[in-house]
C-alpha cells in the first residue's frame, strides 16, 4: 500500500485563494484516482504561499485486473464465424474454452484487462488536474507563453514533486507537464533555507520543511499566530481584537510566522478605534490590540515571515514608520472631517448632488431626498417622530462625502455617527447614520430604535423600488446591487420589530418618488396616462400630453408649442399626476403616426409593485422555510388578502402550521378541501356561484342542522379573531367545525335529486368555504 505525496511549487499564491485550492487539489486528485480504479485510506491537503501539497495514504499499488467472459460461436459453426470472434476478442484459438450449452458445445473467451500500476494512473490524473485546475484567475508566463496552449497557473509554476512511497522506498512518478518534470526535491523558506533537498515521504517532507523554516499546515500557522499574538498582548496587559478573516489571510502570506508587537504613537490614540483598526487591517494587515483599562486600541501585531538576527527590530521599526504615515493621513482626514461636521455638513450635502448613485436613478442627493420622504411617511407606523426620521434620513449618508469614508468605504455609517454628533444632532439621529444600513447579513443585528428602523426601511424600499423601475432585478446568481439582501433586510426589520406595514402602499410611494425623479430628469421621454379608449385602443401620445398639461394660449399663439415636443414637467407636477392617475411610464416608445405600437414597453406602477411584492414573498418563503414552516402553508396564506403585511402573513402561517400539526387540523383541512371541491365542480357544471342563501329551514338532517349551528357560532368568532389578528383564536374557532363537517359529509349526500335541497346544501358548503378563506386558501395545503 504505497503513499502518495504531491507538491506543486510556485511563485506566491494569493492568500484568499489557498483554502479553495487545497480542497480542489484533494477532491480532483482523489476523484480521479478512484475513477481509475484505485482506492485509498485517507488524504490531506496543505498550502503555504509557495506550495500546494497533497498526501494520500494507503493507495492501492495497482488498479485491479478485470475479467470479462464472452460467449462465441458454436463449435460446429463455420470457420468464418470463429475467425470473427477471435478478431473481436484479440485472442488465439488455444485461449478459447469449449463449454456445454443448451444447443451443444460453444466457444467461450475470457478477456483479461490487467490492472495498471498506481504510478501510471497518478501521472495521468495529476497531468489533467494541473492543466485544468480551477483557479479563479490564472496566467501564462515565460518563453512557453508564445504558444497558445501553454500551461496556465495562478502564478508561474516552478516545480512538481510527485513520489510514491512504500516499504521498498520512494519512487518518482514519471510526469512532465509543459516542460516541468516531476522530481523528489523541494525547497525551504525563500530566504532562510533556499536550497533544494530530497524527500522520501510525507513525514520526511513535513519534518524537513520545518527544519527549512516552513510550517506546512495553515491551521498550525494560524494557531501559532493567534497564541503568540495573544502572549505578546498579555505581556502588556492588552487583548488582541479577534479577527478570523484577517488571521486566515495573514497565515496565507507567510511560511514561517513571526508575530511582532508594536505600540501606536500617543498622537494617534484619539482617533476613533474603528479608524485605527480599519487602517491597520486594510493597509497593513495588522491585528489591533486593545487596552482594557482605557478601552482604546493602543497597539498592534504584525506578522513577519522571517527570523532575523536583530529579532525583528528592523522590521518592526519599518512597519511602525509606515503605520505613522498611514495614521497621519487618517488623522488629517479626521480633523478636516470634524471641521466640516461642526459647520453642519452642508458642503457634503451639496457635494452629494454631483455623486451619481446610478445613472438611471440620479445622484446620491436625489436618493437621499427620496429616502427622507419615505422615512417621514413610515415614521408614524413604527413609533418614530416624522420630523426626526426625515432629519435622520437627510443626515445618515452625508459621511459618504467625508474624506475618511472616501479612504475607507467600510467605515460608512460609523463615521456618520461621529460626524452627526459633532454637528450637534441628537443621539437618535446620529445612531441612525450608523444603524440604517443594517441588517447587512443574516447574522447582523436588526436596529430597534424607531428612527433607525424608519430610515432603514425607507433606505431599503427606495433601493428595491428604484432598481425595479429600471428593471435591474436579480437574476440567477447575479445580484450586483444586493437586492436580495435589501429584501431580506425589510423582512427582518418588520418581523423582528413586530411592525405591521402595508408594503404595497410603501412600494407605491417609493415608486412614485422614483418616477417623478426620473420624469423631471432631462432624459424624460414620455409620461403615459394608462387608459384605453372605448375600442380598447391606447390613447395617442399627443392626447396624453394634452391630458397631462395643456399648452397655454401664449405657447400656441407664439408657435412655441409643438405637440411632438417633449413636455418636461417639474417634480411636483409629476408627483401629483402620478398619484392622481396611477400613471405609468413609457420609455423609448415606438409610435406610428402617434399611435403606440409596442405595448410591452408600457410599465404600470401597479405591475411593478406587485412584482416587487412577489419577490419579497419569495424571500419570505426562504426565510420561513429555514424556520420550519412548509412552503404549501406559506402559499396558502400568501393567497389571502393582506398578504403585503408580512407580520400578519407570518402570524397566520405560524398559527396554521401549529393547527396542521394536530389531527383535528389535518381532518378539518380535508373537510374544507372536500367542501371546496364539491362546490367548484357544481359551480362549473351549473355556471353559477353558490355564495349565499343557505337556509336552515331546508335542512333535512340533524347533521345539517348541527353544521348550521356550528357555523353560526364559528363565523363571528373567526371574524372577530381575524379582526384583532388573533390567529390562534381564529384557528381554534375554525377547528370547532371539524366534527360537524365530518358528520355532515357522513350523513348527507350533497348532490341530491331534490334541487332545492341540493342548492341549499351547496350554499351551506360555500359558508364553510368562506369560513376557511378568512384564514387561508386551504386548497393549497398538500396531503
Amino acid at each position: 500500500m504505497p503513499d502518495l505525496l504531491i507538491e506543486l511549487f510556485s511563485e506566491e499564491i494569493p492568500a484568499r485563494m489557498q483554502a479553495r485550492a487545497r480542497e480542489d487539489l484533494k477532491r480532483l486528485m482523489t476523484e480521479g484516482l478512484v475513477q481509475s480504479g484505485l482506492t485509498y485510506a485517507s488524504a490531506g491537503a496543505f498550502s503555504t504561499p509557495r506550495r500546494l501539497t497533497l498526501t494520500v495514504e494507503g493507495l492501492t499499488a495497482h488498479s485491479p485486473t478485470t475479467r470479462e467472459e464472452r460467449k462465441g460461436p458454436r463449435l460446429d459453426a463455420p470457420e468464418k464465424a470463429l475467425e470473427g470472434f477471435l478478431r473481436a476478442t484479440g485472442l488465439t484459438r488455444d485461449r478459447l474454452e469449449a463449454r456445454d450449452d443448451r444447443k451443444g458445445q460453444v466457444w467461450f473467451a475470457t478477456i483479461e484487462k490487467p490492472g495498471r500500476p498506481a504510478a501510471d494512473i497518478v501521472a495521468e490524473v495529476l497531468d489533467g488536474v494541473i492543466r485544468d485546475f480551477p483557479w479563479p484567475k490564472s496566467m501564462r508566463w515565460g518563453t512557453q507563453s508564445k504558444t497558445t496552449g501553454s500551461l496556465r497557473w495562478v502564478r508561474p509554476l516552478h516545480a512538481i514533486l510527485c513520489i510514491l512511497t512504500d516499504e521498498a522506498g520512494a519512487e518518482i512518478v514519471p510526469l512532465t507537464v509543459d516542460g516541468i518534470t516531476a522530481g523528489n526535491t523541494t525547497r525551504g523558506h525563500r530566504f532562510m533555507a533556499p536550497d533544494a533537498f530530497t524527500v522520501t515521504g510525507f513525514e520526511d517532507y513535513a519534518s524537513k520543511l520545518r527544519r527549512a523554516r516552513v510550517m506546512l499546515d495553515p491551521a498550525e500557522r494560524e494557531a501559532q499566530i493567534r497564541s503568540q499574538a495573544e502572549n505578546l498582548a498579555f505581556a502588556r496587559g492588552w487583548q488582541i481584537v479577534p479577527d478570523d478573516a484577517l488571521l486566515t489571510e495573514v497565515a496565507g502570506l507567510v511560511e514561517w510566522p513571526v508575530p511582532l508587537m508594536g505600540v501606536i504613537e500617543e498622537r494617534f490614540l484619539d482617533l476613533p478605534p474603528e479608524v485605527l483598526q480599519t487602517s491597520m487591517k486594510e493597509h497593513q494587515k495588522f491585528f489591533s490590540a486593545r487596552n482594557p483599562k482605557t478601552g482604546r486600541i493602543e497597539g498592534f501585531v504584525t506578522v513577519a515571515n522571517i527570523d532575523t538576527a536583530d529579532d525583528g527590530a528592523t522590521i518592526l521599526a519599518g512597519n511602525q514608520r509606515v503605520l505613522a504615515a498611514r495614521l497621519s493621513d487618517a488623522a488629517f482626514f479626521w480633523e478636516n472631517d470634524l471641521r466640516e461636521a461642526k459647520a453642519g455638513m452642508k458642503a457634503w450635502a451639496e457635494g452629494l448632488k454631483s455623486v451619481t448613485f446610478h445613472n438611471k436613478l440620479g445622484s446620491q442627493a436625489d436618493r437621499i431626498a427620496r429616502i427622507a420622504a419615505l422615512a417621514r411617511e413610515i415614521a408614524p407606523l413604527v413609533g418614530a417622530d416624522p420630523d426626526q426620521a426625515e432629519r435622520a434620513a437627510r443626515i445618515a449618508k452625508l459621511d459618504l462625502r467625508s474624506a475618511m469614508v472616501g479612504e475607507f468605504p467600510e467605515l460608512q455609517g460609523i463615521m456618520g455617527r461621529y460626524y452627526a454628533l459633532e454637528a450637534g444632532e441628537p443621539e437618535a439621529v446620529a445612531d441612525t447614520a450608523r444603524d440604517h444600513y443594517s441588517p447587512l447579513g443574516p447574522s447582523d443585528a436588526v436596529p430597534t430604535a424607531p428612527v433607525s428602523v424608519a430610515v432603514a426601511l425607507a433606505d431599503k424600499i427606495d433601493t428595491l423600488t428604484g432598481f425595479w423601475v429600471i428593471d435591474e432585478k436579480p437574476t440567477g446568481s447575479k445580484d450586483p446591487f444586493a437586492l436580495r439582501r435589501a429584501a431580506l433586510g425589510v423582512i427582518r426589520l418588520l418581523l423582528e420589530g413586530k411592525i405591521s406595514l402595508d408594503l404595497q402602499s410603501r412600494f407605491k410611494s417609493g415608486l412614485t418618488n422614483v418616477f417623478s425623479d426620473r420624469a423631471s430628469a432631462s432624459e424624460l421621454l414620455y409620461l403615459d396616462y394608462y387608459e384605453r379608449d372605448d375600442d380598447g385602443q391606447l390613447l395617442t401620445v399627443e392626447s396624453w400630453k394634452e391630458f397631462i398639461r395643456s399648452p397655454s394660449y401664449e405657447e400656441v399663439s407664439e408657435g412655441r408649442y409643438d405637440p411632438h415636443d417633449r413636455i418636461i414637467l417639474n417634480p411636483s407636477e409629476c408627483k401629483q399626476i402620478i398619484s392622481d392617475h396611477h400613471i405609468a411610464w413609457v420609455e423609448d416608445v415606438d409610435t406610428v403616426e402617434g399611435y403606440v405600437v409596442s405595448e410591452d414597453k408600457i410599465i404600470r406602477l401597479d405591475d411593478i409593485s406587485w412584482n416587487l411584492l412577489s419577490f419579497l414573498h419569495d424571500r419570505l418563503k426562504v426565510h420561513l422555510r429555514d424556520q420550519g414552516i412548509r412552503h404549501d402553508i406559506i402559499d396558502a396564506v400568501l393567497a389571502q388578502e393582506g398578504n403585503d403585511d408580512l407580520l400578519q402573513v407570518v402570524a397566520r402561517a405560524t398559527a396554521l402550521n401549529a393547527m396542521l400539526a394536530t389531527e383535528d387540523g389535518r381532518n378539518l383541512t380535508q373537510g374544507l378541501k372536500r367542501a371546496s371541491n364539491i362546490l367548484a365542480q357544481a359551480e362549473e357544471k351549473d355556471g353559477v356561484e353558490y355564495s349565499f342563501g343557505a337556509d336552515v329551514k331546508f335542512a333535512d338532517t340533524d347533521a345539517e342542522r348541527a353544521l348550521f349551528a356550528a357555523l353560526d357560532t364559528a363565523e363571528p368568532a373567526i371574524g372577530q379573531a381575524i379582526a384583532t389578528e388573533d390567529f390562534p383564536a381564529a384557528m381554534s374557532a375554525i377547528a370547532g367545525l371539524r366534527g360537524p363537517i365530518d358528520a355532515f359529509f357522513e350523513a348527507v349526500q350533497v348532490n341530491s335529486d331534490n334541487q332545492i335541497l341540493r342548492r341549499n346544501r351547496l350554499n351551506l358548503l360555500s359558508r364553510i368555504r368562506d369560513a376557511g378563506r378568512q384564514i387561508a386558501d386551504f386548497t393549497r395545503i398538500e396531503g
Binding site: M139, R140, A317, V322
Partner: protein
C-alpha cells in the same frame, strides 16, 4: 538600513538600480520625452510588450499625477515623481530572484527585512491592459509593483512580459531613513554643493499644484484633447505606404498622441471638470486610441509578429 552597504542619496539609489539592471543585460533607456502618468506608458513598455520579439529594458520615467499634487507639503505625495521601470520579454524564470537582487543592490537585505509578495493584480483601463502579480512589501511598505502582463491594448501577450515598477522616492526615503521627501538628499550630503529633493523640486511642486488645480485653462485642455484624439485617429487611418512607395506604418507617432490625450484627461480630472459618468467615457476614448496603436504596432518589424 543598518547595512554598511547603504546608499547615501536619492541619485545613488537610482544609479545602483541602473548598474544592477544593466548588468542583468537590460538596455538602459532614458526617460520618454512626453508627459505620462506612469512608466507603463513609455512605448518601451506598452508597445514592446506586444509581439513576439524578445526585449529587455530598464529606465527612469518621470511621472505626472496632477491630482496627487500637495504643494510640496505632504511628506510623500507629489504631482511629479520618478518611477523606475524594468520590462523583460519573455518573463525569465528567475525574475523574482533578479528582483530581490536589485533590492540587495540598494541596501535592502532580505535577511534583515521582511520582503513579501502580496497579491495585487494590475489593470490599466486606459491602455486596455492587465496582468497578474503582486505588490512587493518591505517591512509592511509597498516598494514595487510586480506584474506578468497578460494583455495590452486588448491583445494577448505572446509571449508574456515581466514588468517591475519601483516608486523611487518612497523606496529611497525608506532606504535613506528620511521622513519627508523634501528632506531627502538628492546628491551625496558631503558634496561641495549638497542638494536636497526639496532644493530641486519644492518650487516646481508648488507651481504645478497651483496650475493643475486652479489655473489650467479647461477650454484649452478640452480642445487639446480633441486635437490629440483626432490626430491619433488620422495617423492610424493614414495609408501605410508613403509617396515613395515605402511601407511605413506610424504606430509610434500615433501612440504619442494617445499618451497626450491620456495626460490631458488627467489634467482635466484634476481640475474637477469631468463628472463620474463622463469619466468612463473619456477613459474609453483613450483606450480606443491605445488599442488602435497596439493593432498597428503589431504589424511592424519591431513587433516581429511575422518572424
Amino acid at each position: 538600513m543598518t547595512s554598511p552597504n547603504r546608499p547615501r542619496s536619492f541619485q545613488e539609489v537610482i544609479l545602483r538600480l541602473q548598474t544592477y539592471w544593466a548588468r542583468q543585460g537590460c538596455v538602459i533607456l532614458q526617460p520618454y520625452d512626453m508627459e505620462v502618468g506612469a512608466g507603463t506608458f513609455h512605448p518601451a513598455t506598452t508597445l514592446r510588450a506586444l509581439g513576439r520579439k524578445s526585449w529587455a529594458a530598464a529606465f527612469v520615467q518621470p511621472s505626472r499625477r496632477p491630482t496627487d499634487g500637495r504643494y510640496g507639503e505632504n511628506p510623500n505625495r507629489l504631482q511629479h515623481y520618478y518611477q523606475y521601470q524594468v520590462i523583460i520579454k519573455p518573463s525569465p524564470p528567475d525574475l523574482q530572484d533578479l528582483y530581490l537582487g536589485s533590492l540587495r543592490a540598494i541596501g535592502l537585505d532580505p535577511m534583515v527585512h521582511d520582503v513579501r509578495f502580496v497579491e495585487d493584480d494590475w489593470e490599466s483601463p486606459t491602455l486596455g491592459a492587465w496582468g497578474l502579480g503582486w505588490e512587493v512589501w518591505c517591512d509592511g511598505m509597498e516598494v514595487s509593483q510586480f506584474t506578468y502582463f497578460q494583455q495590452v491594448g486588448g491583445h494577448d501577450c505572446r509571449p508574456v512580459s515581466g514588468e517591475l515598477t519601483y516608486g523611487l522616492e518612497r523606496l529611497a526615503m525608506y532606504v535613506l531613513g528620511v521622513e519627508h521627501v523634501m528632506d531627502m538628499p538628492f546628491n551625496d550630503p558631503d558634496s561641495p554643493i549638497a542638494l536636497s529633493y526639496g532644493d530641486v523640486f519644492r518650487q516646481t511642486e508648488q507651481e504645478y499644484s497651483r496650475w493643475n488645480f486652479d489655473q489650467a485653462d479647461t477650454d484649452t485642455l478640452f480642445r487639446h484633447f480633441k486635437d490629440a484624439e483626432a490626430e491619433c485617429a488620422r495617423i492610424l487611418g493614414a495609408d501605410r505606404t508613403d509617396s515613395a512607395g515605402r511601407t511605413i506604418p506610424m504606430a509610434h507617432p500615433a501612440y504619442d498622441q494617445a499618451i497626450k490625450a491620456s495626460h490631458l484627461f488627467n489634467l482635466l480630472d484634476a481640475r474637477g471638470v469631468i463628472s463620474v459618468t463622463e469619466r468612463q467615457a473619456y477613459i474609453g476614448r483613450v483606450r480606443a486610441l491605445a488599442k488602435g496603436c497596439a493593432d498597428l504596432f503589431l504589424t511592424t518589424d519591431a513587433a516581429g509578429e511575422s518572424a
